[in-house]
Symmetry: C2
Subunit: 466 residues, 2 copies
């Protein structure tokens, strides 16, 4: 495998926007705007028309060619009509540019495979690596290097965090960024893959495998570019960090739609499933599931087994969680006799209420304060029959005090993965963010929590069988 260090693409010191425009709404204007908003490196505007552009109060001299820029340029973001792209690549080559992000559409996806080949040929000649064409570019949430032309009032940017996301669909990628921002999901790097004329999903996966800022790699994919390469790269990458793929085009109708969308031969989903299984990739079937998996794996270590314990203050939620886990092929832990004795004794001593259930799910009942949760969680996590814990808290009960945040901090000491589920509205959401600050991921619904447990068990199982 050729390990490519793509840092030059994500951490440029200077960037040129070729096709920069002063017209709001134009792609070349949007890119410049995003860079001015977020990026602290040097920014140069290039357009054959020359002149001057003002963006967010900042004035740019417009160079007629990148060759006129009086400084080195690490990355060029290209947004000129497709037919001009090959010659722009040559100019970039002469200038010593290492990477180009080609936003322009009008290549293979529009029946111009020839133009795309020409683009690649010229780039290869100069040793330039290419993102795209026909894409939204890359966004590095760490340093604000952001080629995405969508304005912030339409598409928010997520905060910096541990999840990298690659997307074969630019529009869907943009929706995901906006969604992630809204739901406080932190991202490291976003890559809109576009036509993948040069760099493809496997190249980026390999780069992200070694990226210290990325803990989990996620991707939306319709069809991979090179199956064998993907297989090999995935197999190496999942040894180091989890990879989660939302594969679209799983059904006949979906595959047909994919063929007309990205030209991907989606292939039989069965084959993809086999590849995912063999390479340890987690396959998500929806956007929410993708991020449930990712959040769990970014915040907790994988489980050493599949025996799940549940501690809840609501019996119904415990029943639903049990159903959800079993329907996903997981199992409830059988608590040891020693653990049951601890519960019996605590009940006798009045430390736990008479009518609680200490079968798994452990139901600490509706009037449980955080201290009762702590006792029950300690007993459960001390049990060698338990590999992973799901805590469900219905915060609508005023009995449940905010001490639960510290409880979750303290019970981390057992070193077993924990998933927290807090269904409801504003109050649970507020506490959820505090619990996440101590390192335990919190989910909004029981079904989201089931996803989280599934991911931790499934990836743990893969690693243990290596």
């Amino acid at each position: 495998m050729n390990e490519v260090n793509l840092d030059f693409l994500f951490y440029p010191e200077s960037v040129a926007v070729i096709g920069a425009s002063h017209v709001p709404g134009k792609v070349g204007n949007g890119i410049l705007r995003s860079l001015v908003n977020n990026f602290r490196g040097k920014i140069y505007a290039v357009n054959v028309k020359g002149g001057e552009i003002e963006v967010n109060g900042k004035k740019f001299k417009v160079y007629k060619s990148i060759k006129d820029v009086p400084d080195k340029v690490d990355v060029a973001v290209i947004a000129v009509p497709a037919k001009f792209v090959p010659e722009v690549i040559d100019e970039c080559g002469e200038k010593g540019v290492k990477g180009v992000v080609v936003i322009s559409a009008g290549f293979k996806e529009a029946g111009r495979a020839d133009l795309e080949e020409e683009l690649v040929k010229r780039a290869k000649k100069w040793g330039i690596r290419v993102v795209g064409p026909n894409c939204l570019g890359v966004t590095n949430l760490e340093n604000g290097f952001d080629c995405n032309f969508n304005p912030p009032e339409r598409q928010a940017r997520p905060k910096f965090g541990p999840i990298a996301f690659m997307s074969q669909s630019g529009a869907f990628g943009a929706a995901i960024l906006d969604w992630a921002a809204r739901h406080e999901v932190g991202m490291s790097k976003f890559i809109s893959l576009g036509n993948m004329a040069d760099l493809d999903e496997s190249d980026f996966m390999l780069y992200l495998k070694n990226d210290p800022k990325t803990k989990v790699i996620t991707a939306y994919i319709e069809g991979v570019k090179d199956g064998k390469k993907f297989f090999n790269v995935a197999k190496e990458t999942t040894k180091v960090k989890p990879v989660i793929v939302l594969k679209a085009g799983r059904t006949e109708a979906g595959a047909k739609a994919a063929a007309s969308h990205t030209g991907s031969l989606a292939g039989s989903y069965r084959i993809y499933e086999a590849v995912f299984e063999q390479t340890g990739i987690l396959a998500a079937k929806s956007m929410r599931q993708l991020f449930n998996y990712a959040k769990a794996l970014a915040m907790q270590k994988p489980a050493n087994g599949d025996r799940v314990a549940i501690v809840t203050n609501g019996g119904g939620a415990g029943v639903m969680m049990s159903d959800g886990l079993l329907e996903r092929g997981l199992k409830l832990a059988e608590l040891s006799e020693e653990t049951k004795d601890k519960f019996r004794k605590a009940i006798e001593e009045g430390k736990l209420p008479e009518h609680m259930s200490y079968a798994n799910p452990v139901d600490v009942i509706g009037d449980a304060p955080s201290s009762r949760y702590e006792l029950a969680i300690n007993y459960v996590l001390e049990d060698p029959n338990v590999d992973i814990l799901a805590v469900i808290a219905l915060f609508q009960s005023p009995a449940l005090d905010e001490g639960i945040v510290d409880v979750m901090d303290r019970v981390k000491k057992y070193g077993k993965p924990i998933v927290f589920i807090a269904p409801g509205g504003e109050f649970p959401e507020k506490i959820a963010r505090r619990i996440e600050k101590v390192g335990v991921p919190v989910f909004e619904t029981v079904e989201d929590g089931v996803d989280a447990v599934y991911a931790l068990v499934k990836y743990g199982k893969y690693l243990s069988e290596l």
Copy 2:
């Protein structure tokens, strides 16, 4: 079937809280507080201790017995220790109370089936109908009659709307109310079923069937009380309005947990599935699915067939939607030659872009303004091969103007059900609320939209086969 009009329970003119307390955090204090906050009828406080209680600046004389209240009382909400409940029922009977809501726990669920039988016996003697015991009571979002003791800062109340919800789990019911408030889901009536010593899920279903304020009936159920009654009531009810049930205890572990939670013999889920299928009940497997189904059915009429058309400005989202629909057993409409001709002609005339796809999914591509959506939607809805439409809009593209709201208003004229999907963050959410004001339900993710389409097709199919 005994059609019971339970209006007296949901629309009382006067209510007494028996076990009213001045101690914040106590159940009898919480109930009084909720009523004072939300209910405009007469409220009386009863407690053997007598004295006076102040709640939210309002002073209540405390009557030692309900019999001392100098006025008629329609409903009594009872929150005294279980052992006192039977005699309180007698006092209610003497006073002429028609319905009681027994919040108190400590009956069958705590091994005191005898006490529960006594409660029922006394209530029957006086002709009093009983909600509970061991429940959160009823909440009528229309008139603010709210027996729920959870404080508003912990559990928000949803706005008034068309969805009724019954829950066999009080704690989960509370979480659902809080969640519904957060997600702007409107509710008509909430019923915490508790032990169902007297009134059960079928009685309430029958009442809600005739309730003009309820368009869709939803329920969380672990086990029904009387299978035959449930079957007959459901069969009649679904002729009039949709019923959606989230049945928990579907798996062995879930059923075991349910037995220890509500004592429900969950029975084989296969039997429930057969009953749901035969009675036209839609079975949801998660909280989100329950409300996706409910929202779709509350806002759109059921579909006359299963042929789904998709119009999208993002190819990837169209692929995912195609997958989701097919995986749920639905199918994509085959657009007629006439429709395809319309598209071809519009493309030739430059009214639609050259590279768009007019196979289904119809991809109006990323730079589509609302006018392009309107043209495409008109063509698709005029097609007799299309029974239902899913519109996907990725609002991250600045090209998509807010005129889409009026477009959705205008295309209602075709009379075919429409589901709108707007993935992302704040901006789509803002437009979503405006689109819902014109009557089209909007969903946050493709998978939620798939649920919505499924519900409209499935219920429509049931009705058409009656």
